[in-house]
């Protein structure tokens, strides 16, 4: 069973579960595929109880066949069903790579036939799980036109972006950082509230618990914190480090703007450029490794389109270009952290 947060608090994991349940209730074409997702409820228990509630035709275990499962999902999606495939760990998505980048991603452009498919990917390190249960592999897919890639950091975003992903006519990769599952919580009222207003900003505020605007849509970044001196652009678990870093350096008189991308593809380029122009000093932080990481793409766009606003070179903080090491001390040395982010922010402020 999912770990219940006290009182009306909803964990990130519960928000994901709830999104699946609500989508399944609302739309009979939605069904789940994945290893151990049925009676067992999934490796992380995201689908716990769903077999009982929705039956074996809609909650289906798959053999250990990532390519097979994603291919089957593509076939079903072509016939108008809305499969949600769970990767047991994001790392294993490599075994389904061809189905994603060549079959699913190119289908609409080639044939005009939509592939409404979601692949949920429990991603990221910090658990001492080694090189094959810890990776942040989103960049593999950002180089492929036709996919959408989301990476929510807060329960409200997790809920609404999964709902949006399931409704979306395109293949969506949904990266859920495992460190957020049970650690990050928000009041149920704030998470599920469909909100009002129409300014396009969801205003969930730092920690994702704030007043609700309209639910986030795919392709919308969120300003987590307003600041004047330095901009930190991030997503996923690292967005939480960025907020913590902003808090740290605030005490030193440095005011930091924190932008949470939430969606990596399609990119909210306007929000990125706005945030970059605002302070002229930009750090991009992500847990994925440096070379070929999304930070490089963001830095290039900022250099191309906001160069005249820059007062310092765009900096990147990312994983070193090595596989994830096993020992916790080794891993900690590699992961982004609030302190590492704060240090680069100080350096940028000094320019």
């Amino acid at each position: 069973m999912p770990v219940k947060a006290p009182s009306d608090q909803v964990t990130y994991l519960e928000a994901i579960s709830r999104a699946l349940r609500d989508a399944m209730r609302e739309d009979p074409s939605v069904f789940l595929l994945g290893q151990d997702v049925a009676a067992y409820g999934g490796a992380f228990k995201v689908t716990a109880g769903m077999l009982e509630d929705f039956g074996p035709e809609r909650v289906m275990n798959t053999p250990i066949s990532e390519s097979g499962a994603i291919g089957v999902a593509v076939g079903a999606a072509l016939l108008g069903r809305r499969p949600v495939v769970e990767m047991q760990f994001a790392d294993f998505i490599s075994c389904g790579f061809n189905q994603i980048v060549n079959v699913a991603a190119k289908m609409f452009w080639r044939t005009g036939r939509p592939v409404p498919l979601v692949i949920r990917c429990p991603a990221g390190g910090g658990a001492g799980a080694g090189a094959f249960h810890s990776q942040c592999v989103e960049a593999w897919f950002l180089h492929t036109p036709g996919l959408k890639v989301v990476a929510p950091a807060f329960p409200r975003d997790a809920y609404w972006l999964l709902r949006a992903a399931i409704r979306d006519p395109d293949p969506v990769l949904y990266f859920e950082h495992k460190q957020l599952y049970r650690r990050v919580k928000a009041p149920a009222s704030a998470v599920f509230d469909a909100g009002g207003g129409s300014d396009g900003r969801d205003g969930h505020g730092a920690g994702g618990g704030g007043a609700a605007g309209p639910p986030p849509r795919i392709g919308q970044a969120a300003t987590l914190r307003e600041g004047e001196h330095v901009t930190v652009i991030s997503y996923g678990w690292t967005a939480h480090h960025a907020l913590e870093a902003a808090e740290k350096v605030a005490a030193e008189g440095i005011s930091v703007e924190v932008l949470d991308l939430r969606t990596l593809a399609p990119l909210d380029e306007e929000a990125v450029l706005r945030a970059a122009r605002k302070t002229g000093r930009v750090l991009i932080a992500h847990e994925a490794c440096l070379s070929g990481g999304f930070g490089g793409e963001l830095a290039a766009r900022i250099a191309e389109k906001a160069f005249e606003h820059l007062d310092a070179p765009v900096r990147r903080l990312a994983y070193p270009d090595i596989p994830v090491p096993y020992h916790r001390a080794l891993e900690a040395a590699c992961l982004p952290s609030a302190e590492k982010i704060a240090q680069v922010v100080r350096e940028l402020r000094g320019w």
């Binding site: 035709e57 289906m60 798959t62 053999p63 066949s65 390519s67 097979g68 499962a69 994603i70 291919g71 089957v72 999902a73 593509v74 076939g75 079903a76 999606a77 072509l78 016939l79 108008g80 069903r81 499969p83 061809n98 189905q99 060549n102 079959v103 190119k106 289908m107 609409f108 452009w109 080639r110 044939t111 005009g112 036939r113 939509p114 592939v115 409404p116 036109p145 036709g146 959408k148 979306d168 006519p169 395109d170 399609p266």
Partner: protein
């Protein structure tokens, strides 16, 4: 436990035990001829430089046409690069194409589509023209065509061999979940059976009892690689029982034998009994692609034998022997098919090219 360890022999199908009506035989013949003329025309266009590449399906017609004869409008087709026979059979209602010669076949659900228009679009697709199914974005059989009111659910290939088998299994799963006993038909070459997706797709279809008919067209060679360097088992059909599905081996130059196997597999799938693996063995009448020298990989003797085993001629001989047709009839059908293909392809050749200003187009549906 002994049972599980014993490797069951694949069923060796016997030919000629299906008993289609003379009219059904003539219809199947029409599509064998049409498919042959289709490929001959495009082979020629490669030599004339009007098409960049062509994987000839000459020699595969008895498999593809017969298999698609076993399905009906409403079933799904997932095709690869040598499946023109299946596509033509699946798209075209003979009684609309040549109503004077082919009355509607009792008991067969044919798509209610205008065949000449579909053939024109298909020819445009082969030529990369604007009126092709992909509007020039994709080559030859790399397109999909959905016309649900006509019962056409056709998912075309990507280049990567094997990749379409899990997709076909997913299509079959969706058909099963929709109810109504519809099935999916999918082809693969013997080379493509060495991919991981062959294993994953067939295994998943078996586990889910998805109504999938998977036909291996074993022409003995993948590009230049002989099947002895492709797999070490005696047959490919014997893989079927290892997945818990029937494995049937059939002479792929014998359209009636293929029809019988495919019909049995389709009936099984419709009855909820899951997938069937069929290995249809043919000779290779052409090289890998027109213009390469891979036909010469075969010994002279082998080349001669496979050309002699021409499945279209074989079927025509069978029809003649049975008295179902006469020589003038065969000549007339061949002429009609050749003229139809010529006119259709000529019209496509003269049609609009795609407009580069249509790029980049939409990579996303939403």
């Amino acid at each position: 436990m002994l049972e599980k360890q014993a490797v069951p022999r694949p069923v060796e199908a016997e030919g000629h035990s299906a008993h289609p009506s003379p009219q059904a035989l003539r219809e199947m013949h029409l599509f064998l001829r049409l498919a042959r003329e289709w490929d001959l025309r495009f082979e020629r266009l490669v030599r004339l430089g009007a098409v960049s590449k062509w994987y000839s399906a000459v020699g595969n017609e008895a498999i593809t046409v017969a298999a698609a004869t076993a399905i009906a409008a409403g079933d799904a087709l997932v095709s690869l690069h040598r499946d023109s026979g299946a596509i033509l059979r699946y798209y075209v209602d003979a009684s609309r194409l040549f109503p004077d010669q082919f009355p509607p076949l009792p008991g067969r659900r044919a798509p209610p589509t205008e065949p000449r228009e579909l053939l024109y679009r298909l020819a445009c697709q082969m030529l990369g023209k604007a009126d092709g199914f992909s509007g020039g974005r994709e080559r030859s059989y790399h397109y999909s065509f959905f016309h649900e009111e006509a019962g056409i659910i056709h998912v075309g290939m990507i280049s990567h061999l094997g990749a379409m088998i899990p997709v076909a299994a997913g299509v079959a799963l969706a058909l099963k979940q929709a109810g109504g006993g519809r099935v999916a038909l999918n082809f693969i070459g013997e080379g493509g059976t060495s991919t991981g997706d062959f294993h994953e797709g067939l295994n998943m279809a078996a586990v889910y009892k998805a109504p999938l008919v998977l036909i291996i067209q074993n022409n003995g060679y993948a590009f230049s690689t002989p099947s002895s360097e492709q797999y070490a088992s005696r047959t490919l059909a014997e893989r079927g029982p290892a997945y818990g599905v029937p494995g049937v081996r059939v002479d792929g130059t014998d359209a009636l034998a293929v029809l019988r196997c495919a019909s049995e597999a389709v009936a099984r799938a419709r009855a909820g009994k899951g997938p069937t693996l069929i290995e249809a063995v043919v000779g290779r009448m052409r090289g890998h692609s027109e213009g390469d020298d891979s036909f010469l990989v075969l010994s002279e003797d082998e080349r001669r034998r496979s050309l002699e085993a021409d499945p279209v001629l074989r079927f025509e001989r069978t029809l003649l022997e049975s008295g179902a047709v006469t020589h003038p009839y065969l000549d007339q059908v061949a002429k009609r098919c050749a003229e139809l293909v010529l006119a259709t392809v000529d019209r496509a050749l003269a049609s609009r090219d795609p407009d580069p200003s249509s790029l980049p187009g939409r990579v996303h549906a939403g």
